[in-house]
C-alpha cells in the first residue's frame, strides 16, 4: 500500500516538471518569434525620441494664446559685398552680433550671438523679404538662463537687393490664453460626431439584434419542430414569394429613386427649410424607399414559411399516413433541389474559389447546370425521409438556432476595423461607413449576448404562459421580454461605450469620427494636437462609463 503511494507520487513530480519545461520552451520560442530586443529601447536616440514624444503629448494644444513680443532687428545684405563682415546692434540693453551680415547662397551659415534677453525666452528668428508683407520663420530657439542667445541658420532663399534687409529676433515677453485653440474646436466637433456615430450604430444594431436574439436562444428554439412537408414547402415557396416581393419592391421604388426623378429632389428642397431635422426626415424617407424591396422580400419570405408550415401541419394532422409520406417525399425532393440551386447560385455570384471560370455565364444557363445535381440530391434526401415515421416532426428550430449562432460568431470575429474598411470601399470615406461597420458588429455582438440572456431566464413563466395556450410570439412578449429587459438595456449602454472606443479606431481606415483627425495629426507629427484628441476620447469614455453604470444600477 505504502509502496504504491510512493510510486504513484513520483510521476506526479515528473509531470509537473515536464509541464514547467514545456512552458519554459514555449516562452523562449515566443521571445524569439516576437523579436523582443532589450537593447533597442536603451539607445540614446530612441530614448530621446520617446522623451520628446511624451513631452509633446504632455503639452496638448488646447488653448489659443495671444503673445506679447519684443523685436530686435539686425540688417543683412544679399548677396554679399566684396568684403564680408558682421553686424552689431545694441538696443535697450540687448546686444546682438551677426556674423556674417550677408548671404550669397542658401548654404551660407549665419550665426547670431547676443545677450540681455529675458532668461529662457522663446525666440523666433524672422525675416520679412523686401517688398513682401509676410514674415518667414528662419529658426526657433530659446534664450539661456542668463539671457544669452546663440543660433546658426541659413537663408531659405536669396532675394538680391541694394538695400539691407531686416532679420528680426522676436522674443516672447508674455503669453495670455485668449480662448480655445482650433485643434480643440476640431476635437469637440469630431468627438460629437464620434458619440453620435456610436449612438446610431448602437441603436440600429440593437433594434436588429433583438428579434435575432430570440432566434439564437436555445431554450426558445429547441421545441420548435415541424413536419418535413412544412419545412420543404416553405423552402419551395421562399424564392417564389420572397424573390417575387423583392422584385415588385424594386419595380415600385425604381421610378422614385431614379436619378432624373423629380420626387426626391422636390422633397429634399421642401424639407430643407427645417434644417438638420428636415434632413433627418428626408434621410429616413429615402431609407424607407431604399429598404422597401428588402422589407417586401422579407415579408414575402415570412409569408412563404408560414404558409408552408401551416400547410405541413394541416396535412400531417388530417391526411392519412400514405398521403403524408408521398407529400413528404415530393416536397423534400423539390425543396432540397431548390435549396441546393439557391446556394450554388449564391456561391457562384460571390465567385468562391474562382468558381465563375468553370460555369457558363447567365442565370438560366447556371440554373440548368445545377438542376440535375440538385434533383439527385433531392432524391437522396427524399429517400432518407422514408426512414423516419410518416408524421415525424423535425427539429427545425435547432437548425435555425445553430445557423444564427454560427453567423453571429463569424461576424463577431471580424474586427470592426476590417468592416470599416469594406464599408469605406462601398459608401466612401466618412462617418457613414463607420456607422455601418459598427452597426453590423454591434448587431452580431449584442445578438449573442442577448440570446445568452434569454437562455438564462427563469423557465417557470414561459411554462405558465405556454400552458395558457399562447403561441410562440406571445410567449416571447409575455414571458421572456419582461425578464430580459433590464439586462438588454444595460447591454445597450455597454455597447454604446464600446462603440465610442471603436469608432475612434474606425477613423483610422477613413470611417469618420475623431479617429480620422487623430490619425492625420499623428501622421503629420503634430503630437500636441493628437494629444488633444486622445484627451477628448478619454473624457467621453469615462463619462459614458459612469452614465452606463448608473443607468444599469437603476434599472436592475
Amino acid at each position: 500500500m505504502k509502496d504504491e503511494k510512493k510510486n504513484g507520487r513520483f510521476p506526479q513530480y515528473y509531470k509537473t516538471g515536464v509541464i514547467i519545461l514545456a512552458l519554459f520552451l514555449l516562452y523562449a520560442y515566443g521571445l524569439q518569434v516576437t523579436k523582443v530586443n532589450l537593447e533597442e529601447p536603451l539607445e540614446p536616440q530612441r530614448q530621446e525620441n520617446l522623451v520628446s514624444l511624451i513631452r509633446s503629448f504632455a503639452r496638448p494644444d488646447i488653448f489659443a494664446y495671444e503673445t506679447e513680443t519684443r523685436r530686435t532687428a539686425v540688417s543683412l545684405r544679399m548677396p554679399c559685398p566684396e568684403t564680408i563682415r558682421g553686424s552689431q546692434v545694441s538696443i535697450e540693453g540687448r546686444q546682438l552680433l551677426m556674423v556674417p551680415n550677408c548671404a550669397t547662397t542658401t548654404q551660407d551659415p549665419i550665426t547670431i550671438t547676443g545677450s540681455g534677453f529675458l532668461p529662457n525666452a522663446e525666440i523666433l528668428v524672422a525675416w520679412t523679404p523686401l517688398g513682401s508683407t509676410s514674415t518667414r520663420r528662419l529658426a526657433d530657439f530659446k534664450a539661456s538662463d542668463t539671457g544669452d542667445v546663440s543660433i546658426t541658420f541659413t537663408m531659405p532663399d536669396i532675394r538680391p537687393s541694394e538695400e539691407p534687409q531686416a532679420i528680426e529676433l522676436v522674443e516672447v515677453v508674455d503669453r495670455n490664453i485668449v480662448g480655445l485653440s482650433d485643434t480643440t474646436y476640431e476635437a469637440l466637433d469630431k468627438i460629437v460626431e464620434t458619440v453620435l456615430m456610436a449612438l446610431m450604430a448602437s441603436t440600429i444594431g440593437t433594434l436588429l439584434s433583438i428579434p435575432l436574439s430570440f432566434i439564437a436562444a436555445r431554450n426558445l428554439m429547441q421545441n420548435v419542430k415541424a413536419p418535413m412537408t412544412g419545412i420543404m414547402s416553405g423552402i419551395i415557396l421562399l424564392p417564389v414569394l420572397g424573390g417575387g416581393a423583392f422584385w415588385i419592391g424594386q419595380q415600385l421604388v425604381r421610378p422614385i429613386l431614379s436619378l432624373d426623378g423629380t420626387f426626391l429632389p422636390a422633397l429634399q428642397t421642401s424639407l430643407e427649410a427645417l434644417g438638420f431635422v428636415g434632413n433627418f426626415i428626408f434621410v429616413l424617407i429615402e431609407l424607407a424607399f431604399l429598404l422597401l424591396p428588402l422589407t417586401l422580400g422579407g415579408l414575402g419570405a415570412f409569408v412563404a414559411t408560414s404558409i408552408g408550415s401551416r400547410f405541413g401541419q394541416q396535412v400531417t394532422m388530417r391526411a392519412p399516413a400514405t398521403t403524408v409520406r408521398i407529400l413528404t417525399f415530393v416536397t423534400t425532393l423539390v425543396g432540397t433541389a431548390v435549396l441546393f440551386i439557391l446556394l450554388a447560385l449564391a456561391l457562384v455570384w460571390v465567385n468562391v474559389l474562382g468558381i465563375r471560370e468553370f460555369v457558363p455565364e447567365g442565370g438560366w444557363a447556371q440554373l440548368g447546370l445545377f438542376l440535375w445535381p440538385g434533383l439527385v440530391l433531392g432524391l437522396i434526401a427524399a429517400l432518407l425521409t422514408l426512414r423516419a415515421p410518416a408524421k415525424h416532426h423535425y427539429p427545425i428550430g435547432l437548425v435555425i438556432y445553430n445557423a444564427t449562432r454560427t453567423i453571429f460568431n463569424a461576424v463577431r470575429s471580424i474586427e470592426p476595423l476590417m468592416m470599416g474598411f469594406v464599408f469605406v470601399v462601398w459608401v466612401g470615406l466618412g462617418p457613414f461607413a463607420g456607422i455601418m461597420a459598427l452597426t453590423l458588429h454591434s448587431m452580431a455582438d449584442l445578438g449573442k449576448l442577448f440570446s445568452e440572456e434569454v437562455e438564462n431566464i427563469d423557465e417557470g413563466p414561459v411554462e405558465a404562459i405556454t400552458a395558457t395556450g399562447a403561441n410562440q410570439l406571445q410567449r416571447i412578449v409575455y414571458a421572456v421580454v419582461p425578464q430580459v429587459t433590464p439586462s438588454y438595456i444595460a447591454y445597450i449602454f455597454y455597447r454604446w461605450d464600446i462603440n465610442v472606443r471603436m469608432s475612434t479606431i474606425i477613423g483610422f481606415v477613413g470611417g469618420g469620427g475623431i479617429g480620422f483627425v487623430l490619425q492625420r495629426n499623428i501622421n503629420q507629427i503634430l503630437y500636441t494636437r493628437a494629444s488633444v484628441m486622445v484627451i477628448a476620447i478619454a473624457i467621453v469614455v469615462i463619462v459614458l462609463d459612469n452614465i452606463s453604470a448608473r443607468v444599469r444600477s437603476r434599472i436592475i
Binding site: 394532422m317 413563466p461 399562447a470 409575455y478 429587459t485
Partner: protein, 250 residues
C-alpha cells in the same frame, strides 16, 4: 372526461418517469395525485397539457386526443386547461393585472395582445378573477411585491381567465406555510364545486388529500399504485405508496 391509457414517459437520459399509467377522471372530480418526490407526479400533469411530450400512450379528453394534436389545435386544447405551479411562475417584473391577463392569451387576437391590448371584457374579467381570490386591490402592484400566498392566488386568477374545464395544480401549496395552504386549497375546492371544473392536484400532505379531494391516485416510481377514495388509504396502502421508511403524519 379525461382518459389516460398506457402513458409512458422516458426522458432522454433514460429516466423512466411514467410507466404504463392508465386511469380515468370523470368531469367535476377533485383528484389528488400523491407520491414521493420524483415519483412522476409533475411529469404526469405536464404530459396532460403537453408541456412534456409523452413517449407513448394516449390521453383523451372530451373527444380530443390530447397526445396527438399539435400547433393550433394543441393551443386550443391548452387554453381550456388551467395550470397552477408550485413556484407560482408569475412574471415578476410585470404587474399583477398583466399576469392575470396573460391567462387570456389563448383567446385574444395575437397581434393585439403582442401590442399589449386586451379587450375591455377581458380586463373586467381579470378584475373579477382577482376579486374572487380576494386581491383585487393588488392589481397594479408588481408581482414580486406580493407575498407567497398572494402570488399563488394570482396564479389561480390567471388560470381562471382561461375559462378552464380542467385545472392542473402541480404542488400548489408546497411552497406555502400550512395556514396559507388551506386558504389556497379552499379556493381550489370552491372553483371545483361552483364552476364544476375538474381539478387534478398533486399534494404532499395526506391531511390535505383527505380534506379536499374526492379521489386520489398514487404514483410510485412512475407506476400507478393506487386509485380510489382518500379514505381507502390505510396503513398498508400507505406503505405501498410511500415505501416502508416513510412515517405517517397528519
Amino acid at each position: 372526461m379525461l382518459k389516460i391509457q398506457n402513458l409512458t414517459k422516458v426522458y432522454e437520459d433514460g429516466t423512466v418517469a411514467l410507466k404504463d399509467v392508465s386511469f380515468e377522471v370523470p368531469d367535476g372530480e377533485f383528484v389528488a395525485v400523491i407520491g414521493l418526490s420524483g415519483s412522476g407526479k409533475s411529469t404526469l400533469l405536464r404530459c396532460i397539457n403537453r408541456l412534456i411530450e409523452p413517449t407513448s400512450g394516449q390521453i383523451w379528453w372530451n373527444g380530443i386526443e390530447l397526445s396527438e394534436v399539435s400547433g393550433e389545435e394543441l393551443r386550443r386544447a391548452r387554453r381550456q386547461i388551467g395550470m397552477i405551479f408550485q413556484h407560482f411562475n408569475l412574471v415578476n417584473r410585470s404587474s399583477v393585472l398583466t399576469n392575470v391577463l396573460s391567462g387570456r392569451l389563448g383567446y385574444t387576437n395575437p397581434l393585439a395582445s403582442i401590442l399589449g391590448r386586451f379587450p375591455e371584457a377581458d380586463i373586467k374579467r381579470a378584475h373579477a378573477s382577482l376579486a374572487r381570490v380576494g386581491i383585487d386591490d393588488k392589481a397594479d402592484n408588481r408581482a414580486d411585491e406580493l407575498s407567497g400566498g398572494q402570488r399563488q392566488r394570482v396564479g389561480i386568477a390567471r388560470a381562471l381567465m382561461q375559462e378552464p374545464k380542467m385545472i392542473l395544480a402541480d404542488e400548489p401549496v408546497a411552497s406555502l406555510d400550512p395556514a396559507l395552504a388551506h386558504s389556497i386549497m379552499r379556493h381550489l375546492q370552491q372553483i371545483n364545486k361552483e364552476d364544476k371544473i375538474t381539478v387534478l392536484c398533486s399534494l404532499h400532505f395526506l391531511d390535505l388529500v383527505q380534506q379536499y379531494s374526492t379521489r386520489a391516485i398514487a404514483l410510485n416510481q412512475g407506476k400507478l399504485v393506487f386509485d380510489g377514495t382518500p379514505k381507502e388509504i390505510n396503513d398498508e396502502k400507505f406503505i405501498e405508496i410511500y415505501g416502508r421508511e416513510a412515517e405517517r403524519i397528519g
